[in-house]
């Protein structure tokens, strides 16, 4: 055991790696050292963004509660955060850094409008985030929200797949609005249109996480949710999974529309394409390109249009197989133009 005495009044200069939760090739997680470039480990701040403690999240934005101050224990492996909050914050930053590299190199993502981003740790919120552990990207607020402490598995904020899922929401926003934290093009749309776009947003995020990690079960180390496994055969779109203009907006708000049901179908379709082509990077590029085209058409209430636009971008050599996969996932999509 390595013993360290830290006098906080005269804390030593921080240098070298920090110990974070890391995912290995097999998808298992363990503590390990990580060197992060130009990373202020005490303040959890770097080129990608800055973490803030507490504060308040309201409909018009986030007001931070103050700077984070992580205490570290010096070991031969690197600095170990002296409490769980510090460990999870460092792990989130590490996963964010890896995710940025993966999405940029694999999917050709331009995430520059996102950086530097704010990272809010356990803020008081008008939303329901405080009820459970969560990690989220707040659309239009340039903000990641991290809610700790309710699960036994890998903390959601330290799960590489979850972090990439949230990062993909930020990418979705950039692809559909051209910026990060700007006006929401959906703000004046009816609830069913917003929910339709939300389902596609969740599907795109799951697809990006699964494809960039090559792991359709990326959520399992944190949450055992079989219904969220990407690529599962049972992920087939049903008419009742789609928001409709006939939905009662009040009922929808009260009972809540579940965007993950349809989202898992979109992500599974994307996974099918990657399996067919054997090209995860190429598939990611096609998905993102189709999403940008979908936004250009402002087809917000027709998320299936993204499926058609994606099929248009699939290499001709596998187009017929891709169409067959789309027909299985979306039985109501009869003979879309790219498949004729």
């Amino acid at each position: 055991m390595w013993l360290a005495v830290v006098l906080t009044a005269c804390a030593p200069a921080w240098d070298g790696p920090v110990v974070v939760l890391q995912r290995d090739e097999a998808g298992d997680y363990a503590l390990g050292p990580r060197d992060l470039d130009e990373f202020d480990a005490v303040r959890v701040s770097g080129a990608l963004g800055t973490a803030w403690r507490g504060g308040q999240l309201q409909t018009d934005g986030y007001s931070a509660g103050g700077r984070v101050r992580v205490r570290g224990l010096s070991t031969p492996d690197g600095w170990v955060a002296a409490d769980e909050d510090g460990l999870v914050l460092w792990s989130f930053y590490h996963a964010l850094s890896d995710g940025e590299v993966a999405l940029t190199e694999l999917g050709g993502a331009d995430l520059d409008p996102l950086w530097p981003v704010d990272i809010a740790w356990n803020p008081v919120s008008i939303y329901d985030f405080a009820a459970a552990e969560n990690a989220a990207f707040a659309n239009g607020m340039h903000l990641f929200l991290l809610m700790p402490d309710r699960l036994d598995g890998v903390p959601l904020a330290a799960n590489a797949g979850v972090v990439r899922h949230e990062l993909a929401h930020a990418w979705f926003e950039i692809l559909t609005t051209g910026t990060s934290g700007g006006p929401d093009p959906l703000r004046a749309e009816p609830v069913w249109v917003i929910q339709s776009a939300r389902a596609l947003n969740e599907g795109f995020a799951d697809a990006v996480a699964a494809l960039s990690l090559d792991d359709p079960r990326f959520l399992e180390p944190s949450l055992d949710l079989p219904s969220r496994v990407v690529g599962r055969t049972a992920a087939v779109a049903r008419p009742e999974d789609y928001p409709s203009p006939d939905d009662d907006p009040l009922l929808d708000l009260l009972l809540g529309y579940d965007p993950y049901v349809l989202g898992t179908v979109y992500a599974s379709f994307a996974w099918d394409l990657a399996v067919l082509t054997g090209d995860r990077a190429g598939t990611l590029v096609q998905l993102a390109d189709a999403l940008a085209a979908w936004a250009e058409e402002a087809a917000w209430g027709d998320p299936d249009r993204w499926v058609v636009l994606t099929l248009e971008r699939v290499p001709v050599a596998v187009r017929s197989d891709a169409c067959a996969a789309a027909a299985l996932r979306f039985p109501h999509l009869e003979d879309p133009p790219p498949c004729r």
Partner: protein, 161 residues
């Protein structure tokens, strides 16, 4: 009713408390115990306190993080109140000593943190009826220190003499 109590007794005791400890990024409420010894107020008095709390955060086979927090403080007080119950308002220097251990996989680390600070505390002392010289105390306190401010609320029993 006179507020000062020149003949109130000295007291000592131990009790349970909830301690909101400042972590890296928030406050977390831990269970704790705190002992005190207070001189008889004239109406000025002094109190010595020592508190101890603990916390364990564990995630399956990934890691276990433990924090043990010890706070010692010396308070200069002014006391006032009706005959049976005394309010004691005290402020003074404090020292918070934390022991942290983190273990998971091949990583094992432990260390001490010493954080000087101050403490302010409002306590109410009173006798336990029919059990003389037993007494009780309820209190709320704050300990601003290097690295954050800890908050506590607790109750205990002891003796008065």
């Amino acid at each position: 009713m006179p507020l000062t109590l020149p003949d109130a007794p000295a007291s000592a005791g131990v009790g349970l408390e909830g301690l909101a400890v400042a972590t890296s990024a928030r406050h977390q409420v831990d269970p704790g115990v705190r002992a005190w010894v207070s001189s008889a107020p004239r109406p000025w008095a002094v109190t010595a306190e020592a508190g101890f709390s603990w916390r364990t955060d564990a995630r399956a086979a990934l890691y276990t993080s433990r924090t043990f927090t010890t706070t010692v403080a010396g308070l200069a007080e002014v006391a006032a109140g009706p005959h049976a119950v005394v309010a004691r308002l005290g402020v003074g220097p404090a020292l918070v000593v934390q022991r942290a251990t983190v273990a998971g996989g091949t990583v094992e680390a432990a260390g001490w943190t010493l954080a000087p600070g101050a403490r302010a505390r409002l306590a109410f002392d009173g006798p336990v009826p029919w059990l003389d010289p037993a007494g009780w105390q309820v209190r709320v306190g704050a300990t601003p220190r290097v690295g954050g401010t800890d908050w506590d609320v607790g109750a205990g029993v002891g003796v008065r003499w």
